[in-house]
Symmetry: D2
Subunit: 125 residues, 4 copies
């Protein structure tokens, strides 16, 4: 159960071509939403890309979600919430693997990976 | 010129309803893309929401873009880049104003605002 | 009152010399400590430096304080807390002004400034 | 060599007592300083604490170092630099292990751990 609501889901195209911008969506708890309360929430999602054959991963971004309902009137009273998901635009010169890491403020660190290959119909020309 | 490539663009629906999730897109340099090199890039975009009539703004998120081409082989050689734009999912209990702030690593801080009202056809029922 | 517990205090040497490392301490609520609970805390402190005569500020760092007592057993139960203060090591090629900005999760943004001049006895040689 | 300039050094007291504030210093490249240039630098240091017997680590803070010499006039021309080190103030209700993680913008992620026990002369009373 803990796993199903915490593991990041990385959504990318099946294939991309070198230099072509594409979208990476990362979300937490797709099937069963993770709580988003002052007391229990996803604090951030970090996204890495490890190029095939490379020695080191690169960090694409660090995305912190800050609005969890805290208000002067008390916990879970604020008028704005942000879900633990985001879409960023990336382009690559090499294929490789995306890694997403997320922090739940009470259940710690969770990670997942998604491999991206280069290719597709148009790239065959 | 500096202004046209730096000021954040906040894209939101014309109207939303209380509690309904919607997407906020923030990007930099829509018409003229901002450079994205090791030496000159957008470091981060912060998003705030100031509820109508409220005394204090809330911070929705802090989004840092880290991949600007740095590599062992030198500047601007890495195989991954992320554009300074992102889409997040937000829901509100009150209307108000979004503020986006962005940092260019050499041209400093840039800000913009977008007012969001509540309503729309379905809300009229 | 709100002001006394929120405005960042920047502590720097009276004077420094070009290229010489020195410490910058930034803290919140020196006289009256700011609360540090799951419901009410300082989320982060950002530090900027604006060189004298320069057009743009530089960002020195972004420092997020994440441990506010959240635990599986409930709010304010976790065994680790971090106070909203930090010391960083900086060196300058020009005098200028430090700006600290802090976010209270319920009372919004607070800012302060501290001017730093170059000089001192040894620099007179 | 890469290891000697990248692994975070965590400096803590030999022992602390429950609830007593103490300082944690984290630095990179103590013996051999890590480069701090626009092209090659430490991007951030994250600090975690894993309480003894606990299932999950807690994140103490996320500390990004942003000033690496970028300037309008070119790389490595800016008048402000921050070294990859910081001191934060922490208090604990239980002993445990600190973990520091750091990102070099070209050599990836590096980690180290430091165990902290409770006790000391005064605690013997």
């Amino acid at each position: 159960m803990e796993e199903r609501i915490h593991v990041p889901l990385i959504e990318i195209p099946a294939q991309v071509r070198a230099g072509e911008p594409f979208q990476v969506k990362v979300s937490i708890g797709k099937e069963i939403p993770h709580p988003n309360t002052t007391e229990h929430h996803i604090s951030w999602i970090d996204l890495y890309f490890h190029p095939e054959g490379g020695r080191f991963p690169r960090q694409v971004g660090r995305f912190a979600f800050v609005a969890h309902g805290e208000a002067v009137s008390g916990a879970n009273q604020a008028p704005v919430y942000a879900d633990p998901e985001l879409v960023v635009t990336v382009y690559l010169e090499r294929p490789g693997t995306f890694h997403a890491m997320a922090l739940c403020n009470i259940h710690g660190l969770w990670q997942s990976d998604e491999v991206l290959t280069f290719g597709g119909p148009a790239a065959a020309n």
